[in-house]
Amino acid sequence: MFLQTLITGLSIGGIYSLMAVGYSLVFSVLNFSNFAHGAVIMLGAYVGLALATKLNLGLGLVLAGSVAGAGIIAVLNERLAYSSLRRRKAPSLYLMISAMGCSVFLENMVYATIGSRFYAFPEFFGRQVISLWGSSVSLLDTGAFVFSLLAIWGLHLFVGRTRTGIAIRAGVSDMTMCSLMGVDLDRLIAVVFLLAGGFAGVAGVFLGIKYLVYPTMGWVTNKAYIAAVIGGLGSLPGALAGGLILGVVETFVSTYVSSVLRDVFSFTLLVAFLVMRPEGLFGRGGEEKV
């Protein structure tokens, strides 16, 4: 029972991490909370769903398609809703409002055109379980967890080793300087949104397989924001750790205490972190940049 709960928690935590990584990436470069991230995750899930049910693709292709689809949506989102604000150096309040507008718009667009029906993915794993030290663990949970870890590790390598990755890290510390050094900011930001969108696509497909696909499924991203704060806003290892911690703690609370109080508990955890350690586990300090 304990191990089973732990694995379930880790798999949910893995999905939270995927969402939090995308959010953190955008936050660290553009310095604002991209509240449209949840809507991109939702659209990624719908893209995956369409590929799986209409074209009967396998899980690998569904993931690939959803990564590409959500990535493109995220880039378009930036081009249409943020880029002009970014160019005239609008306060981050404006960017946040614009992001929230995107989120509300996309969510209700889906609601109005596709409808509020709940869709289920075809069963890729057929509820298979594997036994591990006497407790049965779902293959989906383990798979999602391992895949999330691999994806985040890949991102870590990309940001650390490639030229584009170096440009991203330079952009994080100083955007203007980075542009003076000859980095094409528009392209850099497009790459960042493509990456964030790609992670959102993976998260959307996993969420859709684990639960269901519906217009407001993106609201789960609230948990990813909380995870990002716990780990430290704008830090990638922080997003991973925060997501895993939140997922595990939530699952234990809902198994051993009360499933109703789960969301209340995550909120309490957030407030506790803000009081005791506002910079998060791996944060660079939560101060507003001047």
Partner: protein
């Protein structure tokens, strides 16, 4: 006539909440997508008081407003500290909205997700009008006071404001509490007008509507958001068919305003200035 009257009353109740959010977002420059939660606190507190304990209506309204203020203090104290970016507050208040809804759906005293039916309908047009007029009066004077000027200074430039001696944390917190009190009052009025409340009424959708009114009406203006919020309440009632597309339009509106006209309808000016000088709304703000 009753139908039109009820739209006018609903519009007025909504305007009280928008007034509060306008102080917080429009004048202090902080982002909140959880003010519907403060409306919920006010609505439930006052409704429970009159429903179970037969407390006087006006006392219950005051208690609802005070409860919303107190709750906002609890959220604001850890999240609005001067050292923290405003994103922390935005995330915390989103989480709070969710947590509050879960609580309301599972407590006995709130009758869970089914909601509280049969609250006495005390709210009438004169009461709403009086609350609104009082609210505008208080808001105007608040914004002219030292505290209000400090709020505006923080919106323009937090660092410069701090160097000039404005205490960031206290001023932001005060602005939040004032705005939450407005929202709580609006909730109390709402509960005693509809005579039915349920947790579903206070979701992100409501928060979005409040924010859209403040943004569309114009930041840094009192009359602009009031006009916008009334239009937002009255227009969908008139165009019942478009119900489903209403939120699509709100979302699009927020983005379009931010991209093309961030000052909104009457940004940084008031309706009255339009008549006085005929050039109102032209003052572009440096950004």
């Amino acid at each position: 006539m009753d139908y039109i009257l009820s739209i006018v009353i609903l519009g007025g109740i909504n305007m009280v909440a928008v007034l509060g959010l306008s102080i917080f977002t429009g004048f202090t420059g902080l982002f909140s997508l959880g003010h519907a939660a403060f409306v919920a606190v006010g609505a439930y507190t006052s409704a429970i008081l009159t429903y179970y304990y037969f407390v006087n209506y006006y006392l219950a309204l005051a208690a609802g407003a005070a409860a919303a203020g107190a709750v906002s203090l609890i959220i604001g104290a850890p999240t609005l500290r001067a050292k923290l970016r405003s994103d922390y507050f935005a995330i915390a208040v989103l989480g709070f909205g969710e947590a509050l809804r879960v609580l309301l759906e599972n407590l006995d005293i709130t009758n869970g997700a089914r909601g509280l039916p049969g609250i006495d309908s005390f709210t009438t047009l004169p009461i709403v009008a009086a609350c609104l007029a009082g609210g505008v009066f208080v808001a105007k004077n608040f914004l002219r006071s030292r505290w209000g000027v400090a709020c505006i200074a923080i919106r323009e430039d937090p660092v410069a404001a701090e160097t000039a001696g404005v205490r960031l944390f206290r001023t932001r917190l005060l602005s939040l509490v004032v705005s939450a009190v407005y929202c709580g009052l609006s909730g109390g009025l709402l509960a005693h007008f509809l005579s039915f409340i349920q947790p579903q009424m206070f979701t992100l959708v409501q928060s979005t509507q409040l924010l859209a009114a403040v943004i569309a009406g114009g930041m840094g203006s009192i009359s602009g958001p009031l006009v916008a919020s009334f239009v937002f309440i009255a227009l969908p009632e008139a165009l019942r068919v478009a119900q489903m597309w209403r939120l699509v339009a709100y979302g699009l509106l927020l983005v379009l305003i931010m991209v093309f006209r961030p000052q909104g309808l009457l940004g940084y000016s008031e309706l009255s200035s339009l008549f006085r000088r005929g050039t109102g709304g032209k003052e572009e703000r440096r950004s």
